[in-house]
Symmetry: C2
Subunit: 194 residues, 2 copies
DNA sequence: CGTTTGCTTGAATTCTGTCAAAGCAGGTGG
DNA sequence: CCACCTGCTTTGACAGAATTCAAGCAAACG
């Protein structure tokens, strides 16, 4: 189970990990399984654990005044899932996280993360790189959200994340894109998609 | 001119900067002035310089298929401005950056940034912290963009960035929020704002 | 001043959301 | 094998939100 993560981490560093480093990683990640629909975070709670997804799919979402769910982020294998703000500051979250499929996770606490940052250089490099990627991806998503029509948003998404398009029911995709499921259905018909 | 930045940087570290560190910072930042309307980046070019804004205000925006401008980010004193993706990867940008007011900047190249990361611990800490903040801010902006009406988006913006609301013409704010200037005007009238 | 720049406003139009009903799988249990 | 869920998608009629376009006004500026 750890191998998936060790492999992943290896991509962020030029030097291979030492045995000591691998051991530290094992000690600081707790394996965890989730059934479909199970939660790892509820609004109001503090995000105590950050999850590396070994297998499965998850979503992070919030609920607006009217009780509607809006998906902030989707995650699959080799992605991370957690509320960064709540985790870092140890403040109550406004988000929910649950499993869209059966999941195998590796969980770390904030203490685990600090320990690894101190002891395993590749881990810090990974974190920095992830932040960079996150920022770039968010910038693109944001520009799409503020300037494209529902139609273009879906098109860009389908192009950018082919691995996600057919993995989830389309009301999930719609929620992620910030459009209505009915509208998405109409967009797809217009172009005879799937 | 460097003092503004040295002060700012001091906030990210527990230890005060040494004289050597201060000297390194001076060597790796080039002062630069901009008239209102002047560009520091045009779409198609590589973002060679990242700017720390000592004084003034800037915007980063892109132009869509129809020729309309959409503001991705606004910046004022003590903020950074640059296309992160283009800067890090040294790839052509799809964005424009120009001055909304007369500006005094400190510019660094990617080599400057690498040098400082290596030699000045506080600089690296600052970068990490900025990434974190950036991610959190973007997440909030994104949730607003995909789930709020124009009205609520403006309200949240006004609450979150009081320093920006009255500093810029409202068509600039509208573009930042991804809504039409006419729509924003109507929203404000509805609540008798400003 | 005359020009530019930004803001307001109305009317027409387009886009998107809402709601409700119906259809269509796939899975389960009798 | 059939009847019945259940979860998901499609569709139409309608309501509401936001944009577009054009005109007019006000303040700021050289």
């Amino acid at each position: 189970m750890y191998n998936a993560y060790l492999n992943y981490l290896g991509n962020f560093s030029s030097k291979p990990l030492t045995d000591d480093e691998k051991e530290l990683i094992r000690q600081n990640f707790a394996p965890f399984r989730l059934r479909k629909g199970q939660y790892t975070l509820q609004a109001g709670d503090i995000c105590k654990k950050f999850a590396f997804i070994v297998k499965g799919a998850m979503r992070m979402y919030f609920v607006d005044d009217k009780g509607l769910e809006h998906i902030v982020r989707l995650g699959i294998e080799d992605w991370w899932m957690g509320d960064r703000e709540s985790f870092i500051n140890q403040t109550p979250s406004r988000l929910y996280i649950d499993a869209l499929e059966r999941c195998e996770l590796l969980l770390m606490t904030l203490d685990n993360a600090k320990e690894l940052e101190k002891m395993v250089p590749a881990f810090r490099q990974m974190m920095n790189k992830l932040d960079e990627r996150n920022i770039m991806a968010n910038e693109r998503r944001l520009t799409a959200a503020i300037s494209f029509t529902a139609e273009k948003r879906y098109m860009e998404f389908a192009e950018c994340y082919p691995a996600l398009v057919h993995r989830f029911p389309q009301h999930i995709i719609a929620s992620y894109l910030g459009i209505n499921k009915d509208t998405l259905s109409r967009v797809k018909r217009k172009y005879n998609l799937k």
